[in-house]
């Protein structure tokens, strides 16, 4: 590890390093920033979850108050979905997708940085609600009648925070779409793209179509609460059901935005650690696209009990069940990938193997809920809580943990301890099933979700107790992971290009971590699993598609940071406008500041810089 960039970095002082991270447009660094930001919020959401479970440990508990409990559940859901799961996935997409397609960066590095800062400041804004007023308390779905009625500024924090973070997500989605369409190396046809790239592509398309409805919905909410509009006030001709539709038109695809990249991660892991190409690659791609498409056709299954009438319910019920088919195809293709393979149980593979039974259980209860008349019983009960945690934790979180272990060496050049990794897995996996399995039965036994406490004598005590114990086990697992990260970073044992030794895709053909320009020469892709093909032919590395030439690189910029800062400031202005004189000026100042930075960005020509041939040769030699 003596690349120029790194040796230069090591000499920098703290200030210079901070400046470097604030201004970076390098997709690998932004990936790490997403991991840090998402990881922070994941821990925060986890603490909220623990408080929820402790409150429900015994009947009639008063560990937290009723109002605070509603803030906890709202912030737990919002944080985990918007500020933990999605950013963590974005972290891996950023770090890995450009490498997998043989690109030097994403299509719009500046926007990439802007997207990250918007997520981060949005999340910060949302969480400042804990200190400045009260946190939002109308559930992560923030259904309109309650969110309009909610006193204080909690829901305002929700609306503005998510608006800022959501805009960042939309930018990231567009960026990945353009990157994958335009930046693929020669020979990287669509049908040679690794599954993680494919799922990122489809998830980004979903973001493109799903986030604008959320933006519109949140603007309605913002105007209703802060600027005297009446979109959701039925006494003034508004309608609260509209919010539910808008929210779920976004909200259902959102589930697939999370789960598809998770599928991609597991597809990589299964194939690498079974030492076998993915079974039925084209079927997998087709299933991914189909799930993405159907994901937009089923939102009203979240609303079966709203009273949409039997015809709407029946149509959405059947459409929902249909999604089981492509998902089933995926499960069987994974099974057939490991069938006849050479399975090595590494930590990432352990997560992948744990994922199959967990996700199948989450999937089948999903189909059951798709049966509308049955859902009348299941809806808004603990059955639902069990179901979506089986899908999101059993699918998305296990995938994020698998990816953390799998790509850690590629991102940081050092390997997480396998032993601690497996300890984390067993604690987390057993704890997860203990927490959520019995919640299915709690729901069937009549326990509604989002209840602050429950009376004794309803037959729910034992299962709630077990559920809380399970949550403690999950927390222990996460703590072990954090210890693992600290120990690994302290030891800092460097690894080579392909530390798992069975790497199949392009990211394993270059050093860990990759130099800032990724590929000294643009690679030539000769088939699916291109690095595997090279290895089979005895090559170490990749086939270049071009001679060594000067590489054009973008300059770092602080503008994205300031652009977002302006919106962050404007948010406070909008929120306090009605009760403080300084509100309106702050709102105007914040927006003007953002427009000013946009102006600077437009007027100032920043053409980037070139890494010359000689520099590249020197750096590449230095590595060997």
């Amino acid at each position: 590890m003596t690349t120029v960039s790194n040796s230069v970095e090591q000499k920098k002082g703290f200030g210079a390093m901070l400046w470097d991270w604030l201004t970076t447009v390098d997709h690998k660094k932004i990936g790490i920033l997403y991991l840090i930001g998402g990881g922070f919020f994941f821990v925060l959401g986890g603490i909220e979850a623990m408080l929820i479970r402790f409150q429900l440990l015994i009947p009639n508990n008063d560990f937290v108050s009723a109002g605070f409990f509603n803030e906890l559940i709202t912030m737990h859901g919002t944080t985990m979905i918007f500020l933990a799961a999605m950013p963590l996935l974005f972290g891996f997409m950023n770090a890995i997708v450009p490498l997998q397609i043989g690109a030097r960066d994403v299509a719009f590095p500046f926007i990439n940085s802007l997207g990250f800062w918007m997520f981060f400041f949005g999340g910060l804004f949302l969480n400042l609600s804990w200190f400045l007023d009260a946190a939002p308390d109308a559930g992560w779905t923030s259904y309109a009648s309650l969110s309009i009625a909610s006193a204080g500024h909690g829901i305002d924090f929700y609306a503005i925070g998510l608006q800022i973070a959501g805009a960042g997500t939309l930018m990231a989605g567009i960026n990945f779409l353009v990157t994958i369409i335009n930046m693929r190396a020669p020979g990287m046809t669509y049908m040679r793209m690794p599954l993680f790239t494919w799922t990122t592509f489809v998830a980004s398309a979903l973001i493109l179509f799903a986030f604008p409805p959320l933006t519109v919905g949140i603007f309605f909410l913002t105007f209703d609460r802060m600027f005297g509009a009446n979109f959701f006030d039925h006494t003034m001709g508004g309608n609260t059901i509209i919010w539910e539709h808008i929210f779920w038109i976004f909200g259902h695809p959102e589930v697939y935005i999370l789960i598809l990249p998770a599928f991609g991660i597991f597809s990589e892991v299964f194939s690498v650690f079974a030492r076998k190409r993915l079974f039925g690659y084209s079927a997998m791609v087709f299933a991914t696209v189909l799930i993405g498409f159907l994901g937009f056709m089923v939102w009203a299954h979240h609303m079966f009990t709203v009273g949409l009438g039997p015809t709407a319910n029946a149509i959405f019920a059947v459409a929902t069940m249909a999604i089981a088919v492509p998902t089933g195809v995926k499960i069987f293709n994974w099974l057939l990938t490991i069938w006849g393979g050479s399975i090595k149980i590494t930590t990432p593979m352990l997560y992948a193997l744990g994922f199959i039974p967990s996700f199948v259980m989450g999937g089948v209860t999903g189909v059951q809920q798709g049966a509308a008349p049955l859902d009348y019983q299941l809806h808004d009960s603990y059955f639902i809580v069990a179901h979506f945690h089986y899908v999101i934790v059993g699918g998305v979180v296990l995938a994020i943990l698998a990816a953390t272990h799998y790509w850690w060496p590629k991102m940081f050049g050092t390997m997480l301890s396998e032993k601690l990794g497996k300890i984390t897995f067993w604690f987390f996996f057993i704890g997860f099933h203990m927490t959520f399995f019995l919640q299915h039965f709690l729901g069937l036994m009549g326990m509604p979700r989002r209840v602050w406490t429950y009376m004794d004598g309803q037959g729910w005590n034992l299962f709630n107790l077990i559920s809380t114990i399970g949550a403690v086990l999950m927390a222990i697992g996460v703590i072990v992971l954090i210890i693992n990260v600290i120990i690994t970073t302290a030891k800092n044992e460097r690894v080579g290009n392909d530390p798992w030794e069975d790497g199949r895709t392009l990211e394993w053909a270059i050093p860990s971590p990759p130099p800032f320009y990724n590929f000294a020469q643009t690679p030539l892709v000769r088939g699916l699993d291109s690095y595997w093909i090279e290895k089979q032919e005895g090559h170490n590395g990749y086939t270049a598609a071009e001679p060594v030439t000067d590489i054009h690189m973008p300059n770092g910029s602080i503008i994205p940071f300031f652009m977002t800062l302006g919106l962050f400031i404007a948010g406070f202005g909008a929120m306090y406008r009605l009760e403080h004189d300084w509100g309106l000026p702050v709102l105007i100042f914040g927006l003007a500041f953002t427009f000013l930075t946009m102006g600077i960005r437009s007027i100032k020509d920043d053409l980037g810089y070139y890494v010359t041939k000689d520099q590249i040769r020197r750096m590449e030699r230095g590595r060997d």
Partner: protein
């Protein structure tokens, strides 16, 4: 690792089984012990889908465990290179076609029951004399209590729904503040009470509630509606049709009942001073009251829908309602003297229409 894995699975599986077999929940509350036709239809659908889903899981888990046992690198050695397989159209066709078939098997009863349970056409039906053929109850959900109006009978009650067994009871549901959801788990699935439109559905109550532990079925609010969402319980009394008619008649007889400030009963007098402005004591009326109708307070099963039904709880509640149901709209009457409170509680617990 594998051995440990197997052992762990066995242990968890056994633990899970014991817990499942430990019961299906409480008879007055569980969807697994349906006490009405709607709940039974939904339970049957649960059994059907669970059966099919367990079938799917058995297939998946079998392949999974065999693959996991057979194809380990430890067995083959590190140098083993498995044969690459691109895919198999035949297999892929099978695992596309069979799920489609299973989905169709589930879709047919799903669509059938969706229409069946959504059929409220008989709601307005009248016989030759213009009398309604079916019982209709108008439910209004409010921050954190339930109002039940029987429009045809001209009576109204709160917190405890009283219905006859053996016939379809039709419901009009609406909310007067924020969205709630009306759910009686043992009887049938829920329906939301929206703020802007009336939702209609029916339920059938097949079992008389008298034999139950508390003599009532439990009802729940199933939509987050604020701090006391968890406490927005109601109770359901199911009576034989004859008893129900008797109850209706008794309710109708309370017409004109009121509390008088000049009453010799100190409780009634105090009630007339402080409470009657919001709480009616006559069961005759329509929905739209500011506070729960108390004509049947003495017959109730709970104070405020969830506290044990005794005079002390009634007194505590009147003194500080926020302590028990945060966010509810009743002001605290902590300025009342202890004697007044005792007397009011006495009076309230004496308000009965049942023998």
């Amino acid at each position: 690792m594998m051995k440990g894995l197997k052992k762990w699975r066995l242990v968890t599986l056994l633990a899970a089984l014991t817990i499942i077999l430990s019961g299906c929940g409480e008879e007055y509350l569980s969807t697994l012990l349906p006490a009405g036709e709607v709940g039974q239809d939904q339970f049957n659908l649960l059994l059907l889908t669970t059966g099919i889903m367990i079938l799917v899981m058995i297939v998946v888990f079998t392949i999974y465990f065999i693959a996991l046992a057979k194809f380990r690198r430890k067995k083959f050695g590190d140098d083993h290179m498995p044969k690459d397989v691109e895919g198999s159209h035949k297999l892929e066709l099978i695992w596309t076609a069979i799920p489609i078939l299973l989905v169709i098997i589930m879709a047919v009863p799903t669509v059938y029951y969706t229409y069946k349970l959504g059929d409220v056409s008989a709601m307005e039906a009248t016989d030759d004399e213009g009398n309604a053929e079916n019982l209709v109850v108008n439910v209004t959900a409010k921050l954190y209590w339930w109002e039940f109006e029987y429009p045809e009978q001209g009576i109204v009650t709160a917190q405890e729904l009283v219905v006859p067994t053996g016939e379809r009871v039709y419901f009009n549901l609406i909310s007067s503040d924020v969205k709630h959801s009306f759910w009686i788990p043992a009887i049938g699935g829920k329906l939301d009470t929206n703020v802007e439109n009336v939702n209609k559905f029916y339920l059938t109550f097949d079992k008389e509630s008298e034999g139950l532990e508390d003599g009532v079925f439990y009802g729940k609010c199933a939509e987050l509606c604020g701090p006391s969402h968890a406490l927005m319980d109601f109770k359901v009394k199911t009576l034989s049709p004859d008893d129900f008619d008797g109850w209706v008649a008794a309710m109708q007889e309370t017409e004109g009942a009121t509390a008088s400030a000049d009453s010799a009963d100190a409780g009634e007098a105090a009630f007339a001073q402080s409470c009657i402005g919001c709480h009616a004591v006559s069961g005759v009326g329509t929905s739209g009251a500011a506070a729960p109708n108390l004509a049947t307070y003495g017959d109730r099963n709970r104070v405020a829908g969830f506290l044990e039904h005794n005079e002390q709880n009634t007194i505590d509640w009147i003194k500080d309602p926020q302590k028990y149901k945060p966010g509810n709209l009743m002001p605290a009457f902590d300025s009342l003297s202890d004697e007044d409170l005792d007397a009011i509680a006495d009076y309230l617990h004496g308000l009965k229409v049942e023998e």
